[in-house]
């Protein structure tokens, strides 16, 4: 803002001579305004006072800015993430990390500053769908939407900042309720007869990695290859991928992995969200009950999805073929049944033959969870936890330990031990399935770009251009005055002369 004292202009002949009322023009953004102010001090004093006032104001502003900035940083630091059920619009979970979520941010992307190395990583991943019921043997299409413009979140090498469509089989990897518990979680899932694709080779990897895999209710020879029920094969925007590559971040982390880094982002789907229909077929031990019931997947979609699973499912099928299929399906929505399908991992318990069908209820047509993780830590993981038990039981995602799903009482208690448990007749039990997506997003230092614009005009001149001048006085006026005066005087003189002469002549004639 520029304040100019009108009388103080540098116009020639218009110097400031006295003190008193002065008009001040404010060149504000709106329009120039003039104000009359009292100027009672000498310029130096006024300038000093103004400088002091400006300095004070500047200091106050700076202090305020600094305080605000510091506060903002404080708020941002450590905010891990917040998962929000996008459909419902309510936060499903909030990581309890050190940091508190900044209120204003809401669901939006958050920025977190990593401690040693300040890293700002902001991204938002939204899990959308499936929008329809998922039944065993059918493909599942899950869409991960990553907010564009943020730090690239490499869910997989194929991920784009836009939309990553994961299409195919869901592989559920079971984690033991608690890492502490050495024994694998009970197993479960009913083998799905369909089995189909379910088995994706890749899946094998995954499973193998995942501790749960140990699962298997019935000890299958494979043991480890639990049959994954469902495999998420990411088909990023079209580029689908079949089974998840072993290295794929999507592959469930091994038990150890379980200890998800604090940075992990966990998308948890409450038990209530899924309804599993399991075929009652008790899979007797044997064989592999393990087979994954999980089936979710499989081939259904035919898409890639199917491809995947093979491995497991394959086995599954193979092995399991057995169990699974039991036709009868039992729906265990909340109750626990679930079974899941997941990957076959069944744990311990025998798997009940139930072949689960996963039905994901949708909110307003779309089931989606939006997570806004903001963490500097790197391998971030997205875990999808399917808890058969009522939602309430679902564990908070924040916990490192896999969500502790407590099996419903009915559920079998999984024998912690590896020893195969006998499948419950009913085969219903609650279980937690995790689909883990590891996001190996290397921490990146915050990049702040300052665009310094060079002034095209090196030095800006003061004020206006003084490109006018007073024209010289027109001489016409003077000439007119002089001429008029001459005429007037001349006529007056001539008149006087003539009068005198006439009177002289007149007197003479009379005399004559």
């Amino acid at each position: 803002m520029i304040v100019r004292v009108a009388a103080g202009r540098r116009d020639p002949g218009h110097r400031l001579r006295a003190w008193g009322d002065r008009k001040v023009r404010w060149n504000g953004p709106d329009s120039p305004r003039e104000t009359t102010v009292k100027v009672g001090l000498r310029p130096a004093v006024t300038a000093c006072a103004g400088a002091v006032a400006l300095a004070g104001a500047g200091t106050a502003l700076f202090a305020g800015y600094a305080a605000g900035h510091a506060q903002a940083e404080d708020q941002a630091v450590g905010v891990p993430y917040t998962c929000v059920d996008a459909a419902a619009g309510t936060p499903t979970s909030t990581e309890t990390g050190e940091a508190t979520e900044s209120p204003s941010e809401g669901v939006g992307p958050q920025t977190v500053t990593a401690s040693p190395t300040p890293v700002t990583r902001t991204f938002q991943v939204t899990l959308v769908g499936p929008t329809s019921a998922v039944t065993a043997g059918q493909g599942v299409e899950v869409t991960w939407r990553v907010d564009p413009g943020e730090t690239p979140v490499a869910l997989q090498e194929t991920i784009d900042p836009g939309v990553l469509t994961m299409r195919g089989n869901l592989r559920w990897v079971e984690y033991p309720p608690a890492t502490e518990i050495p024994t694998p979680t009970p197993a479960t899932t009913s083998p799905s007869p369909t089995g189909t694709d379910g088995s994706s080779p890749s899946s094998t990897d995954q499973q193998s990695q995942s501790p749960q895999q140990t699962e298997s209710p019935t000890p299958t020879p494979d043991g480890d290859t639990p049959t994954p029920t469902a495999t998420l094969s990411p088909a990023a925007s079209g580029s689908t991928t079949g089974p998840l590559p072993a290295l794929s971040p999507l592959s469930p982390p091994p038990m150890t992995a379980q200890a998800t880094p604090p940075a992990a982002m966990i998308v948890e789907i409450q038990a209530g969200d899924f309804t599993l229909e399991a075929s009652p077929a008790p899979s007797p031990t044997g064989t592999d009950p393990a087979t994954p019931t999980a089936e979710q997947t499989t081939g259904g979609s035919g898409t890639d999805g199917n491809a995947t699973a093979d491995g497991e499912s394959g086995p599954a099928s193979g092995e399991t073929a057995t169990a699974d299929s039991g036709p009868g399906t039992v729906t265990s929505p909340d109750t626990g049944e679930n079974t899941a399908g997941g990957d076959g991992d069944t744990t311990g318990q025998s798997e009940t033959p139930a072949t689960p069908d996963l039905v994901i209820p949708v909110h307003d047509g779309v089931a989606r969870l939006a997570c806004t993780p903001a963490t500097s830590a790197t391998p971030a993981a997205i875990r999808i936890t399917v808890v058969a038990s009522p939602p309430s039981s679902s564990s908070s995602p924040g916990d490192d330990s896999p969500s502790p799903t407590s099996p419903t009482p009915t559920d079998t208690t999984p024998a912690p031990t590896d020893s195969p448990t006998s499948p419950t007749p009913t085969g219903t039990f609650t279980r937690t399935h995790y689909a883990t997506v590891t996001v190996p997003a290397p921490p990146r230092p915050t990049r702040t770009e300052y665009v310094t614009e060079t002034a095209q005009v090196q030095v800006t001149p003061k004020g206006w251009a003084r490109t006018g001048a007073a024209t010289e006085q027109d001489p016409a006026a003077s000439l007119l005055i002089l001429g008029g005066a001459a005429l007037l005087l001349g006529s007056a003189a001539a008149g006087a002369y003539l009068r005198g002469r006439a009177s002289a002549h007149g007197g003479g004639s009379r005399d004559r």
Partner: protein, 231 residues
Amino acid sequence: MTAEPRGHGRILAAALAIAALIGVGAITAGLVLLLDPGAPEVIGPAGDTSAADPTDIADTADPGSGADRASAEAAPLTLPKSPPKRVRIPKIKVDAPVRSLGLDRDGWLEVPPLNRPNLTGWYRLGPTPGQLGPAVIVGHVNSKAGPAVFARLHTLTKGDTVEVQREDGRVAVFRVDEVQRVDKHAFPTTRVYGNLPHAGLRLITCGGTFDPKSGTYNDNIIVYATLTATH
């Protein structure tokens, strides 16, 4: 005999009376001209007033208004640095030499000498005409002797052309985007001297009414132009 001189005397008296009246009239007229110069001449676009147009700032920040923006969308046409030699404005029949101007000791823009009313000045601390940014050329609207080079600058309208011949032999052709009359106290410094995404030209002269007290005009006439061609 006596009738004749009487007739002559009357005629002479009448002539003297008329002369006296003329003299009185001349004196009166002279006094009127001397004491009351009449309504001051207003130089500049009628409807355009001063300034403090909020867009002044926006123009530069967002570069340019109107044609400025339009021209900014495409890759800006620019020329390398080369001082101007002459400025030609066909519409108002201006063909004037250009000299280099700087700042005076107080930081004000220098102006060409008043004794050379046809001389214009280019502000050398800014871009040269054709370079990226606002090139500034100023000229007097009048001098003590009468109208000067930019006496009719205010009559320019959007679309008129201004040609600047440069020392490198190239001629930068500018198209007038806007003619603005601004109060000197609200001079749009940012808009005139602010960065541009294209090659611009600002022609500045005085306008408005002459303030005998300050010895200057109250307003400035500013012509905003954009480089559209070179040859």
